[in-house]
């Protein structure tokens, strides 16, 4: 047996000093040679643990083998047979906790860089392959409405249309893609790539109706009465959470949703060429420790902030953000104020935020999340000077649909109750998946839920 190669091929990235001033993609991707070299490290295990680690079950060793053999069209075919959005997943999936964590080489500390290879295949396809004519499945005569065009909705729609069902996606915003468009910044996930993958789903025959706020424009019951045989709800978790401390409505305090929507969806970083503005803070504090907090902090830096703080009430070990994103943020000069929690925001006479009074925290006993509970250190208050604050504490599902859909059961937290294995809700003919069911989670878990629901909807429609 050949000796194991434990040298992961690094992926080139923009220099931190340069990238902190532009919105271009940070990671630059492998060359063909780099991809082949990384692919050649794969030992093609008989028991494919990496596939089990993938929420959509991509045949990982097969597409890696194709890369090694230089058969890129085959790599594309294998990858896209299970994953309609590989250019996105290769960039934003937390591979380190999924496929790469179950890779046989992970035990040796050098798992195959599956995410980077996936990204390479998707980018190669985009640059080199003519658009294939879509498959022409036999029409079933059944129609499915998919609500929301984020990762869950796009995946469910692509799977259902490939099975011969007529599929229409209803999207509330003016572009499709959901959080991939409004939430994740250009420098981490270029919008051209999202648009390309949305166009691919449309090329399969999926109709996309934009500007359609379901629950307002039409209700789910009206959709079902309008000739649709099933509905999939993939509307995500779009409602921002705030801290609920004094001063939170001061000018200059954004929810991460608002800040990122202005910057990413409305392209405020190109104001005034684009009409939507965003405030350019000099001293910016971002509250929270997840990927959205990292994205917000790095956007604020690129908009010209002199100093950007991540303010997080626990320690670095408990941060929910991907390791890679924390490191990217640190490299770019984002300052981490850990074990720190806002007590109140301080404003000037014109209602603008000028400071943030914080507590120092310490970690106590583990809480229900299994992480050690942060507790306030008595008498530890101190003030941080800021002129902009971005609150990135997480999101909950928007109640617009649940409140207008009788028979749909929701949890106390507002998530829709659905069967974990099938996405079936308590309401007849209605399925749900992604953040609307789980609360804010990852792109790939939403895609996995979209896939499971599509399979169950197909069973139902053929039943």
């Amino acid at each position: 047996m050949a000796k194991l190669n434990l040298n992961r091929v690094e992926m080139p990235r923009q220099d931190p000093k340069v990238r902190g001033k532009n919105f271009n993609e940070v990671a630059l991707g492998y060359s063909l040679e780099q991809a082949k070299e990384e692919a050649s490290r794969c030992i093609q295990c008989v028991k494919r643990n990496c596939v089990d680690g993938c929420p959509v079950g991509v045949d990982i060793p097969d597409f890696i083998k194709a890369i090694r053999e230089g058969d890129m069209p085959e790599a594309v075919r294998v990858l896209k047979s299970k994953n309609a959005l590989p250019g996105i997943c290769g960039r934003v999936c937390p591979q380190e906790t999924q496929c790469e964590s179950t890779c046989s080489l992970a035990k040796k500390g050098a798992p195959i860089a599956i995410g980077r290879l996936e990204r390479f295949v998707a980018d190669w396809e985009r640059a080199n392959m003519p658009k294939a004519s879509p498959p022409q499945p036999a029409p079933t005569g059944k129609r499915v409405a998919v609500v929301g065009s984020g990762p869950a909705g796009l995946t469910a729609a692509a799977d259902l249309v490939k099975l011969g069902h007529g599929v229409t996606i209803f999207e509330a915003l003016h572009v499709a893609g959901g959080v991939l468009m409004y939430g994740i910044p250009e420098f981490r996930l270029p919008k051209e790539i999202v648009q390309n993958e949305v166009d691919y789903v449309a090329s399969l025959g999926v109709k996309i109706e934009l500007d359609s706020v379901i629950g307002k424009l039409v209700t789910i019951d009206e959709v079902l009465g309008n000739g649709y045989h099933a509905v999939f709800l993939g509307t995500g978790a779009g409602l921002p959470m705030f801290l609920g401390v004094p001063g939170e409505n001061l000018n200059g305090i954004y929810s991460a949703n608002e800040f990122l929507t202005r910057v990413n969806l409305m392209k405020a970083y190109r104001f005034p060429e684009y009409d939507t503005p965003v405030k350019l803070g000099k001293k910016v504090a971002v509250i929270g420790g997840g990927n959205v907090a990292m994205d917000s902090a790095r956007c604020a830096l690129r908009l010209g902030a002199e100093v950007v703080y991540i303010v997080y009430r626990r320690s670095e070990a408990e941060m929910p953000a991907r390791r890679e994103e924390v490191e990217n943020a640190q490299e770019e000069g984002i300052q981490f104020k850990l074990l720190t929690n806002p007590k109140q925001f301080l404003g000037n006479e014109k209602n603008w935020v000028v400071g943030m009074e914080c507590y120092e925290m310490e970690l106590g006993e583990p809480d229900e999340s299994g992480r050690r509970r942060p507790v306030v250190k008595a008498g530890s208050e101190f003030v941080i000077d800021v002129d902009e604050v971005i609150v990135a504490l997480g999101t909950t599902p928007n109640p617009l649909i649940a409140s207008t859909t009788p028979g749909l059961e929701t949890s106390k937290g507002g998530t829709v109750m659905a069967d974990e294995a099938t996405g079936k809700t308590k309401k007849d003919k209605v399925w749900a998946g992604g953040d609307i069911v789980t609360g804010a989670a990852t792109v790939i878990s939403a895609m996995g839920a979209g896939k499971l629901a599509a399979a169950d909807i197909d069973r139902f429609l053929r039943g």
Partner: protein
Amino acid sequence: MYKILLREDLVPSIHLFKVAAPVVAKKAKPGQFVVVRVDEKGERIPLTIADWDESEGSLSIVFMEVGTTTARLALLEVGSSIADFVGPLGLPTHIEKFGTVVCVAGGVGAAPIAPIARALKNAGNKIISILGARSKNLLFWEDRLRSLSDQLIVTTDDGSYGRKGVVTEPLKELLASEKVDRVIAIGPSIMMKFCAKTTEPFGIKTIVSLNPIMVDGTGMCGCCRVAVGGETKFACVDGPDFDGHQVDWDLLFARQRIYLDEEKCSFEQWQKNIQPEVKYGKVKS
């Protein structure tokens, strides 16, 4: 794309567009709004619904030229299209038989108040309307409001038409002279605030339609947060109608001014870029 079926210049700076939006027209209710985006580079702005016609599949909006977006909208003619037209958003105005309702409209507020007055009238209320503007050349829909009301009072700040003064003066006299069961006030924020201040001592429930800055209009961003009765609300999904006596007006005013500098910069940039013949005022018809 949403086609403009009819354009009416109500006064030189206030325009009505009737827009083809059949599904929205089917659902629209008094007090709701739409979010409009002029084109690919445009921002999303909320505009209250002025009228709709389900059989024609159309919905009318009325807007005043106040900044880049509304100035760009004003350049559009019949047959051209608006990129995005999303709605109906927000909660409809609460309509029931209250008894006597005073509808106070300031400036462009005449447009959204008309369908509300009509619905209240159809619900069996006696409608007294007060229509106010800075000057005669900014008044519109006097006839329409007259036809929907049992009584109409018109005021202008400069006395160029109707009664000289602001809307709160006749409002106060009405409250003192007859039994009023509810007041609805729609117009500039400052006018709505003073209407609420006027009715408060009389203890008459006063509904105002708040117009904070919005982005998505569906509860997603929280830009439109307002404080009502000490609680934070999102005007886009919890409103836009609120109890005027409970609104934190100073917070609303402050938050409406967040982008003053950017609005100025954007407008100057736009003026620099447009054709000279449309630079100052209307497109030639």
